[in-house]
Amino acid sequence: MSDGVEQFRSRILERKPLRLRGGGSKDFYGGPLQGDMLDTRSHSGIVGYEPSELVLTARCGTPLAEIESALAERRQGIACEPPHFGAATIGGAVAAGLSGPRRATAGSLRDFVLGVTLMDGEGRELIFGGQVMKNVAGFDVSRLIAGSLGTLGLILDVSLKVLPLPVAEATLRFEMPQDQALDAMNRWAGQPVPLAATCWQGEVLTLRLCGAQAAVMAACKNLGGERIAESEAADFWTALREQTAQFFAGPDTHGPLWRLSLPSVTPPLDLPAPQLIEWGGAQRWLRGAVDAAQLREAAAIAGGHATLFRGGDKAGGVFSPLPPGLMEVHRRLKQSFDPYGVFNPGRLYPEL
């Protein structure tokens, strides 16, 4: 056990609100930051990695970049390509639960979590899940932790399922209005095409294919479009993932960034702000000052939800409110993992 863990424990046992933080790359995300900072970066390092087992275990403070480069050396990766937004750590990435451009086809970060070691609000180290692909012993707490924004405990170690990097890739571009693009993305996703990622913005649909050489070549031929040079394509998908692309850039005066998570087949939304669509239609970004209530209602009617992702006025809530029955379950879970309200109070919902 590292000294870091003992220090974490003694801080937790003080029972005062703590703001858990790795690289601070996602300080912008979620509700207001409250409590004294607990920096997780002292607990760092890859603990185990065996390429033929497809499993990597790392301490929470390990930089995501370090993990990705260790994996890349063995031609493997985290298939959902989680965003870094700066000096992200693996603990922070799992806590935030955000996935990158390949999410719709590769699965979410939560899908790749195999196990966590968690320190709860009473300083106890608890192991849930493990280092194997299939594990149904006990409730799936390790995946509950993914995306819980650090409100249920301090993630100490994480085990992830990793996958081989695609053998071949290609990026295609099509001029297309939004309705046609949504139709095409959904149609292609229903065919045995090695579709990996999609992005529509400014009347242009960009498509990424990943898979076996033969499959990618055949799909390029069948789908048509303009093939983008490899390095330009790599830059495009990175800029999308890291939100450094033109759409996301610029000062806050361009308005807050909203994230809409919707059924992929949702028709174009008539909202007064520019949109960028990913995940085959299931993730739509909006840039601009829109009425929060109107946006949430539009998302809910479509069967999804809206998140105030960056900037804007957080006083009205960041995440879509939960129905009372669900909130009650949330409150009970929070109470059992963090009875003294130590971890990231208010970061997910004011009540938690």
């Binding site: 390429p51 033929s52 087992e53 493997q76 639960g97 999410r103 699965g107 979410s108 939560r110 106890r124 608890l126 192991i127 849930f128 493990g130 280092q131 194997v132 692909m133 299939k134 594990n135 149904v136 012993a137 006990g138 409730f139 799936d140 995946r143 509950l144 993914a146 995306g147 996958l163 081989p164 996703a189 229903g190 065919q191 045995p192 095409v193 898979g211 076996a212 050489q213 033969a214 070549m217 055949a218 998570s261 919707l262 059924p263 992929s264 087949v265 993730q283 069967g303 998140t307 995440f319 879509s320 939960l322 129905p323 029955g325 669900l326 909130m327 379950v329 949330h330 879970l333 059992s336």
Partner: protein, 489 residues
């Protein structure tokens, strides 16, 4: 307890005045034919696929709609009567074993596929819909439901959700967890909640992850939306024979390390192969110590490329014979043998117990060697079927319950295998669930504090512990008993 004592007990139990009051109330919320209470009608529900454990419930409810489910739950909640939800009863860990003085809530009548959306690639189904029925219904759209447990002809999607069922293709296509996107769930107090959605994520905690694999202890599934996958254009399987399980294990590691994720990767040892061959005549190599089935799917070009690459790796790692399926019929025949492994073993022994540990794959040779030693020690034969791609091992312990002491020996043998799985860094159950069967071995895998957290999770959904109580998560007394005989943490 002798048979006579058991019957006397039961008669007394069925005459319990609380039971009569419960039946009267249930009769008020269910049509007469939807409530079973005569001992002979209860009998078919006394156990699930794990027949070693049985119990007669007070009643079986067979509701037809959400309102009836909610009404049954409310009645039971008010009277604090335990409820055990049940699908097809194919579970192998006793997750649907009734609780005495409780009600079995059968979802068998919830058999409708409510909606198929081929464009969104989603199907909305009732919990009693059979796993295979989904794939059959969506086949005209070139889609299928990927998880394919061996019981897929019979098992229901509600049961799959409860157990987080896998199958032989889950290394590439995921478990139930990765293929169910939304559930409508009735809680024990009758409240109905929705978890998940047709979007790719939801605000708040990932309660869908908690519900899937919760063994019917958190809520009753009323409806599920499942993800549909495009059917690969073609698929082919290589069958490789090995002179040792060590070589076969190394061949598996070599395939994965080469960056190939086969659609299926399965191993059977000699005893399992012989049992299966006798049953389905798949043409397996009976002289091999182990055979591997490695499947590739995708476009014709992709499959040809991957099969060639795997063949090279298999040969390099000691495969002494390779056979590649030359037609769809042949491919299905190779799989039919693997999928029939349990019933095939059932034919060569009066009784068998199926274990379900998952181990890091690198330990497979060690674990199989140790199982062979234990087999000698316990004087019981054991066939091994292995989801080699994901490390999920199914040792099938053969015994004869009529021979005094054999059942106990089989249980002790099984317990040793599960402990071995934990010792090498694995888990006691990969896909069958803990149920009633492995509840004591949970004490080996989890600490007291971790088990407390599981109880707290249950309480967040079911504060009175009425839904499938006593399954999956042991109480401290289970562990102290187990410590006396075993090696709990």
């Amino acid at each position: 307890m002798s048979q006579e004592e058991h019957s006397a007990d039961l008669a007394q139990d069925l005459a319990n005045p609380d039971r009569a009051a419960l039946l009267a109330e249930l009769a008020g919320v269910l049509p007469a034919e939807a409530l079973l209470s005569a001992a002979e009608d209860l009998k078919p529900y006394e156990c699930d696929g794990l027949t070693a454990y049985s119990a007669l419930p007070w009643a079986v409810a067979l509701p037809q709609n959400d309102e009836e489910v909610v009404a049954v739950l409310k009645v039971c909640y008010a009277r604090q009567v335990p409820v055990v939800a049940r699908g097809a009863g194919t579970g192998l860990s006793g997750g649907a074993t009734p609780v005495v003085q409780g009600v079995v809530l059968s979802l068998a009548r919830f058999m409708r596929i409510l909606e198929i959306d081929p464009v969104a690639r989603l199907a909305r189904v009732q919990p009693g819909v059979r796993n295979l029925a989904i794939s059959e219904a969506v086949a005209p759209h070139g889609l299928y439901y990927a998880p394919d447990p061996s019981s897929q002809i019979a098992c229901t999607i509600g049961g799959n959700v409860a157990e987080n069922s896998g199958g032989v293709h889950c290394l590439k296509y995921g478990l139930t967890l990765h293929n169910v996107v939304r559930l409508r769930v009735a809680l024990m107090n009758g409240e109905v909640i929705e978890v998940g959605s047709h979007a790719l994520d939801d605000p708040g905690y990932d309660l869908l992850a908690l519900m899937i694999g919760s063994e019917g202890m958190l809520g009753v599934v009323l409806e599920a939306t499942v993800k549909l996958t495009p059917k690969p254009r073609t698929a082919q399987v290589v069958m490789a024979s090995f002179d040792s399980v060590v070589d076969a294990g190394e061949a598996v590691a070599a395939i994965i390390a080469a960056g190939i994720i086969p659609a299926g990767l399965e191993m059977m040892d000699k005893l399992a192969t012989a049992a299966v061959e006798d049953f389905v005549h798949a043409g397996y190599d009976l002289t091999a110590a182990a055979i591997l089935l490695a499947e590739s799917d995708g476009t014709a070009e992709e499959v040809a490329e991957e099969i060639a690459a795997m063949s090279v790796l298999l040969e390099k790692n000691g495969a002494r014979q390779l056979r590649i399926s030359q037609s769809e019929a042949e491919r299905l025949k190779y799989w039919a043998g693997r999928k029939a492994a349990f019933p095939a073993v059932g034919r060569i022994t009066p009784d068998y117990m199926c274990m379900d540990g998952t181990i890091p794959r690198k330990h497979v040779a060690h674990v199989l060697t140790r199982i062979a030693e234990l087999s000698v020690e316990f004087h019981l034969r054991c066939a091994n079927v292995f989801h080699a791609g994901d490390g999920n091992l199914h040792p099938l312990i053969m015994f004869d319950a009529r021979i005094p002491g054999e059942t106990e020996r089989a249980i002790a043998f099984g317990a040793k295998i599960l402990e071995l799985s934990v010792d090498v860094g694995g888990t006691i159950t990969g896909e069958h669930g803990v149920g009633i069967e492995k509840v004591r071995q949970m004490c080996v895998q989890f600490s007291r504090e971790e088990l407390d957290k599981f109880h707290a999770v249950k309480a967040a959904f079911d504060p009175l512990t009425l839904l499938n109580p006593g399954k999956a998560v042991p109480y401290p007394r289970h562990c102290s008993e187990y410590r006396l005989i075993g090696s709990a943490r």
